[in-house]
Amino acid sequence: MPDTLLTARPALANAATGHFGLPGAGVTLTALPEDRLWQALARPGTDPAPLLAYGAGPCPLRSIGPGQWLIVGVGTGTLAEAQAALAPGFALSDQTHGRVRVSLSGPSAADLLAKGTAVNLALLPEGGAAQTLFGHLGITLARTGPEAFELAVLRGFALSLWDELILLGREYGIGARAA
């Protein structure tokens, strides 16, 4: 018998919410549901077309390097089914427990992000992704709309990133809320 019962709860369950800084909503910070986050690795020389076709469905793909992707969001089917469909060129692993996603949107979202990362956000297309550092935290940054971004971060750093984003967003007015 374990001494302590382990209970599943969202990494950002106790995160600060509300409005911070100046009035107005320059930026909105939202914790996204911890529903699906898989990592896909391709064997060297594999044609990525089957995975890209898979990603065209309800699971957006985030390219994080040569032969490496994150599959995020709500989708149908299990990991085993996806793995069977994509074998043998691709290996999938479930990282849902390991990474947390937050969304950052609003007219000043890009300005806020530019304080922490050197990725040229003007050149990041909608649907594009970049693995980078935000301050000292490794994040997967993706643009989900003209003024909307998504950040995936290691679970243990989620609260630090959350608090840092609020601090950096105070000059624009930032609203933070759970999903």
């Binding site: 994080i64 390097g65 050197a118 980078t132 550092l133």
Partner: protein
């Protein structure tokens, strides 16, 4: 941010995203004398000028890169994937 390294996979990124391993050197034969291995592992030149190093893009694509740069001017001549041209 100073010292942008043009990663062939990610585009220009600050040097803070990278981890430097050291000079690109030919590996001695497995049965080479111990002095040669000692030199390969521990002894380094510290040149003022052009230098080729292995850099790991640890904060980005996590690929090993060969960065050719000038240690005096900080000019970066070329950055290629370390696996390029290997079987």
């Amino acid at each position: 941010m100073a010292s942008l390294i043009p990663c062939p996979h990610c585009g220009p990124r600050p040097k803070e995203e990278f981890t430097v391993r050291g000079a690109v050197l030919p590996r001695p034969a497995a049965d080479a004398p111990v002095e040669e291995w000692q030199a390969h592992v521990y002894l380094r030149e510290n040149p003022r000028g052009d230098y080729a190093e292995h850099w790991h893009h640890s904060g980005g694509c996590r690929r090993w890169l060969v960065v050719k740069r000038n240690t005096a001017t900080h000019a970066v001549h070329s950055v290629t994937d370390a696996a390029e041209g290997r079987p």
